[in-house]
Symmetry: C2
């Protein structure tokens, strides 16, 4: 049969056992994925490893690698046949700059897997900020009945910083509630699903119009510390902030001061540096601040979606099509 | 002019200064309402009082009274001309049974003023329960990074107990997120805006299908302790509960046990007995329980809406039409 003569490819799925289980690829996950994609699986030799114990050996013959922390030094020598690296997550800021990526190796990320949860989290975030739930939770810690009123959310304005997969999903979640969404992007070119698009260069001019600011950008040299003290001061008095992008985009010390002073009414933070947030961090007890443990975009079926996405991309490879979710080495996402 | 000959009516607006400001009718609120309804106001003599200091005197000539705590004993003798009592809130359980209501006096409540906020709160409640925010907030109190995953909300099921104005608004908020809504009502007759309607007599049979149970009933002898320990045990393992109706509908001691054991994953409570919740209540520190200080249905513009509603009903009275929001003395809402 002709099929038997088709070349087989070697893919190595590498995980870090110190990461949460939901981000680890186990043999059982791979077997389930193979059952979902039996024809494609026939074209593969699959190895599964943890904590680099067998990584060097696997890379000697691997065509593809799934790995959020690929070895960088001398990668081409270690992996002479490597053509494609898929990361487990959407954010690849830990791998920047991409000068280590060998020529001929494509890097793809898992952007898109977060969509449904990000939409839920965007809606939940603006509703909680509008209802002053961060302040209500601070009052609960103090056993204090703090009767805080808030008006309905419809007609208010959210500014979403970063309108990639996560940002656009957040925007969809907010717009369903009748919230007006200003998307802030690199270029400011029109995007679907926003009431208004503004280039990041004009952020300082528009941030004061928002009742809620939601950070959903990747971390790049351009977004690092973008919401510094001066930018936070330009926010509307009593506005709320949510960060589901990356912690270093916002100056958390400056944010704390503005939550304590009442300049801002509340914050919902889902990202920290480092994570887990250390017990000694003052953020745990900052008034009007909710600490979420990096959960707003994750789903218990995350690895299932990731492997389905991988098989879909492998099918594109076999068909000679371009991979989906290729990371631009210059932009960094 | 003919208009000068039209009869004028006396309305007395009575408030309790111990209630939150948002539920008090002040002279300034009345003046603003008169500016919004100048023609109707010409037909009125208006008095405004607090804490019953001038109530007896006002009632001697009052045709109408706005008052959430009307005097009951000997009311007809005190208020010989009284035709209509409007309450400030939607719930009138504090006035039941209505055997004190003189013949010829209509009681109306403020049901409906809560709609927009209740819709927001319904959406927020199911999103927070789905994302396990009550457990996340308990972890924050302990400075504990508790990496809790949850799947997207679309396709899950909410049971809304009570489908009056507040319950239906809650249901609308949940359905917008792709949540399936089972409405539980007295009769089980079809209602708009629910995927399924079930009579309360069959609650025990359906409660186990819900990922989220939201209590939005008035308090009546029929709803008192409806969610007792046995009913809570029939809920799905890991389900969440929200109460924005009345506290005595749910056995909070039994609920606490089930939050501590993990039978239920979280609770969002907005109503307590008494309110404010005393500092010594164990509810403040119960794990996986969010204490909201009776805020889910309220709006800073509450009195504005209430007075507009009152003027609208007064216009109906002048036109010989039936009042809106008449409380049924038998049903109690």
């Amino acid at each position: 049969m002709a099929r038997a003569a088709l070349p087989r490819y070697h893919v190595h799925f590498e995980s870090n056992s110190r990461k949460p289980r939901a981000f680890q690829v186990h043999e059982s996950d791979v077997k389930a994925a193979v059952r979902r994609h039996p024809e494609l699986a026939k074209r593969l030799k699959i190895t599964v490893g943890f904590d680099r114990t067998m990584l060097a050996q696997a890379l000697q013959s691997a065509d593809f690698m799934l790995n959020s922390e690929p070895p960088r030094e001398g990668l081409r020598a270690m992996a002479p046949k490597l053509k494609w690296i898929q990361t487990t997550g959407a954010g690849i800021d830990g791998l920047l700059p991409l000068d280590w990526l060998p020529e001929g190796v494509t890097l793809t990320n898992n952007s898109g897997a977060h969509r449904a949860k990000a939409q839920d989290s965007g809606a939940m975030g603006v509703l909680m900020l509008n209802a002053l739930i961060p302040a209500v939770m601070t009052a609960q810690r103090e056993k204090h009945w703090h009767h805080l009123f808030s008006s309905p959310i419809a007609g208010k304005t959210a500014l979403v910083l970063g309108y990639g997969d996560v940002g656009a999903a957040v925007g969809r979640g907010a717009r369903r509630l009748g919230v007006k969404v200003i998307a802030v992007t690199r270029s400011g070119r029109p995007v679907a699903g926003a009431d208004e698009v503004v280039p990041v260069a004009k952020l300082a001019r528009v941030i004061g119009r928002a009742d809620f600011v939601i950070v959903a950008t990747p971390l790049t040299p351009q977004t690092h510390n973008l919401l510094d003290a001066a930018m936070l001061d330009r926010m509307k008095d009593g506005a709320g902030l949510m960060n589901i992008g990356r912690a270093p985009v916002v100056d958390y010390d400056a944010l704390r001061e503005r939550l304590i002073s009442g300049k801002l009414s509340g914050a919902v933070l889902d990202v920290f540096s480092p994570e887990p947030l250390p017990a000694e961090s003052p953020l745990w007890t900052t008034p009007n601040l909710m600490v979420l443990p990096h959960i707003t975009c994750d789903d218990p079926r995350y690895i299932e979606y990731l492997l389905d996405f991988w098989f879909e991309n492998f099918e594109r490879f076999l068909a000679g099509k371009k991979f989906r979710n290729i990371v631009d080495p210059v932009r960094g996402y």
